[in-house]
């Protein structure tokens, strides 16, 4: 008996140390990101510039690099967390902002705002419209699911249908657009963190950080959900409620992340899997681990994207896939037993 307890503690320790390792990694990457850029400031200058209160170095660190880093962490962490929730409540390894149609409806929101000259009225109209449409589609899926009593299959099918619907609407608008509009739309879909300032971070952090503690508190329920609806119900989980609220919160987070950074929803699919492959499916550890993986992934991608080919920026959506996919395959090949 004692032996099993010891073993359990050992496993937990391993998981905990992975989470701590990721946190340290994130901190390290953030420091590197803070010291890299177009200006010739070295690592030491960059760190000392944090504590200055004026000058161009101060402006670069405080107004350009730091917001970018914080937004990358927020977006990456948020998308990964939301992806984990989607995969848990739908019990499907393919669930992500893409499969649920949230990414494509957000994209459609951005496209309409661009075509109808949104950026003329307000800089936030594109992001706002993307956010609105992302939420609209997830509420649509929820109401369909409610009519059909919340089975994961109906939600995924509804999501895929929504995805096709909104992507063809976006294509239609792109087809009608002028050269400049199509340019702008393509740029938006590539994703970018260049436009981020403290104001955007304020809005995004409220929408991403507020639902997070609630999701974390439900870790046990998500664990039980993995055993199937019946078993979870038998153990006292309100399956319908957790599925609905989980969907609402995860959609909110996804919508916020995508509308500010563009469609990099791929993180939401791959980061939870990377974390799960390393530490398994216990949501107590899976949530923080996958959020940290997502944050590291997006921050690394953005830092590489803006430094590899400086001063030209390789769009973040492209770099994320470039570094995420090979790593994902590496883990997939290394893993001997079935992990999902």
């Amino acid at each position: 008996m004692k032996d099993i307890c010891e073993q359990y503690k050992g496993v937990t320790r391993k998981k905990l140390s992975f989470v701590i390792f990721l946190a340290a990694l994130l901190f390290g990457v953030a420091l590197i990101a803070l010291s890299q850029g177009a200006s010739s400031m070295g690592f030491k200058d960059s760190v000392t510039a944090i504590f200055q209160d004026s000058g161009i170095a101060h402006a670069i660190i405080w107004k350009l690099r730091l917001p970018r880093i914080i937004m990358a962490v927020l977006v990456g962490g948020g998308l990964a967390l939301a992806g984990t929730v989607f995969q848990a409540i739908l019990r499907n390894p393919l669930a992500s902002p893409y499969t649920l149609g949230i990414a494509s409806s957000a994209g459609f929101g951005a496209v309409t705002a661009i075509i109808f000259g949104g950026s003329f009225y307000s800089e936030y109209l594109i992001a706002g419209n993307a956010f609105f449409f992302a939420l609209l589609s997830s509420f649509f899926i929820l109401s369909i699911a409610k009519l059909k009593s919340y089975t994961p299959e109906t939600m995924i099918l509804a999501g895929i249908a929504i995805m096709f619907f909104f992507s063809s609407l976006s294509s239609l608008f792109q087809y009608m657009g002028t050269v400049e509009e199509v340019h702008e739309i393509v740029f938006w879909f590539f994703g970018s963190l260049s436009k981020v300032g403290w104001k955007e971070i304020g809005v995004a952090s409220v929408m991403i950080l507020l639902p997070t503690p609630i999701i974390l508190r439900w870790s046990w329920d998500f664990n039980l959900l993995a055993a199937g609806d019946e078993s979870a119900k038998a153990l006292g989980v309100n399956v319908t409620r957790i599925r609905m609220l989980g969907m609402v919160f995860a959609s909110l987070i996804t919508a916020a992340a995508i509308s500010f950074a563009g469609v990099i929803g791929f993180v939401g699919l791959v980061a939870p899997h990377i974390a799960r492959m390393v530490i398994g499916g216990d949501h107590w550890f899976l949530f923080p681990a996958s959020a940290l993986v997502g944050a590291v992934l997006v921050l690394t991608a953005d830092t590489l994207g803006r430094t590899l080919w400086a001063p030209q920026v390789i769009p973040i959506g492209i770099v994320t896939a470039f570094i995420g996919v090979p790593f994902f395959f590496y883990l997939l090949m290394k893993k001997t037993r079935q992990y999902w």
Binding site: A38, L64, S119, E181, W188, A310, P311, Q312, V313
Partner: protein, 350 residues
């Protein structure tokens, strides 16, 4: 048997006659046939005279109107209704498609002699699909100052409007020389940051915007980048500390410039550019040298006007007498036969 043979012989003979008669009449109608080089550098055979035109780009349409060949246009690009004030005579013509694609059935029905479009879009299968209908595709861009004259001359030849083409070319040359003359005695080139519609997307070498900036005597800070429309980091702009910023904007962000009556939309765009995080450290922002230019006079047939504005912004003293607005007015009234109106730049020239 003999009867059948006779019938077959007669039918064959009749068929031959019919076919040869057809070719004879076609040749007689075709008249002269010329070979031209399009914007992509390909040779295209065109039979003259051209009587009916379908035009897929506003750039080409503007040149056609300048060549006084507006009456030949029987089909236009679909978006023309967005700018109906600018195209009073053409706005109601059949809309056949846009720069990306067209409605083949409608084009076949209209049966034009040629379709005018950009060199890259729509794709090359357009030529193949239109060939059975005897419709030639002529690909001319009209958005690069460097090739504009050549393209105008080509179109002038096709439409038999050589004299009109020479008039426009002469006008371009005159004004280009005027700008070059103004730039003769300048020493310090200002560093310029150009931005398109999307935030932090600039115009590098290979783009029409870069070409204009150079012609206007500016030093584009993106001149050693490798792609035409790259996204760049805000930090890089800050480090390059440009003397001037030129932000261009398209119709979609402020309505069409021709129908615009006040400068508020352009002012708003400028205010937002100046308020970007950390940009208070940039010389251009400190010295209030941030300019907004409408897409209409940016790359395109009116690029010379945009270039004129830029030269004036770069070297206000050398170009004190030079009036780009007058240039624009002259262009619209003389070549486009419409009255001058609209707002195209901010801050205003006066």
């Amino acid at each position: 048997m003999k009867k059948y043979f006779t019938i077959i012989c007669i039918t064959t003979l009749l068929f031959c006659l019919l076919v040869s008669g057809e070719t004879v009449t076609r040749e007689a109608m075709a008249g002269e046939s010329i070979s031209i080089k399009d914007a992509a550098g390909r040779s295209v055979e065109v039979s003259l005279p051209i009587k009916k035109l379908v035009v897929l780009t506003s750039d080409a349409l503007e040149i056609i109107r300048a060549l006084k060949a507006e009456d030949l246009v029987i089909g236009v690009y679909s978006d023309i209704s967005r700018n109906s004030q600018f195209w009073p005579k053409l706005k109601d013509k059949p809309k056949v498609g846009n720069w990306k694609g067209l409605n083949y059935e409608l084009v076949a029905e209209l049966n034009p002699d040629i379709v005018l479009c950009y060199s890259q879009r729509p794709g090359r299968d357009m030529e193949r699909k239109l060939e059975p209908f005897g419709v030639k595709v002529i690909r001319l861009d009209f958005f690069r100052l460097g090739t504009l004259e050549k393209e105008v001359a080509v179109l002038g030849r096709i439409l038999k409007k050589e004299k009109e083409a020479m008039d426009i070319i002469a006008w371009y040359r005159k004004n280009l020389e005027l700008i070059q003359k103004g730039l003769k005695n300048i020493s310090d080139q200002p560093d310029v940051y150009i931005e398109g519609d999307s935030k932090y997307h600039t115009a590098g070498p290979g783009s029409g915007g870069h070409e204009m900036c150079v012609l206007a005597g500016g030093h584009n800070i993106a001149s050693n980048l490798s792609i035409p429309y790259p996204e760049i980091t805000p930090e890089w702009i800050l480090m390059n500390n440009p003397n001037l910023i030129v932000k261009t904007t398209t119709k979609s962000t402020c309505g069409t410039s021709y129908s615009m009556t006040d400068a508020i939309p352009l002012k708003r765009i400028r205010d937002r550019v100046m308020a970007r995080p950390a940009w208070e450290n940039i010389r251009a922002v400190k010295e209030n040298k941030v300019f907004v230019m409408a897409n209409e006079i940016w790359t395109g047939p009116r690029a010379i006007i945009g270039t004129g504005y830029m030269a004036k912004w770069f070297y206000p003293d050398a170009f004190k007498e030079f009036d780009p607005k007058k240039l624009h007015k002259e262009y619209l009234e003389k070549f486009q036969s419409i009255k001058y109106q609209g707002v195209y730049v901010y801050p205003n020239e006066n």
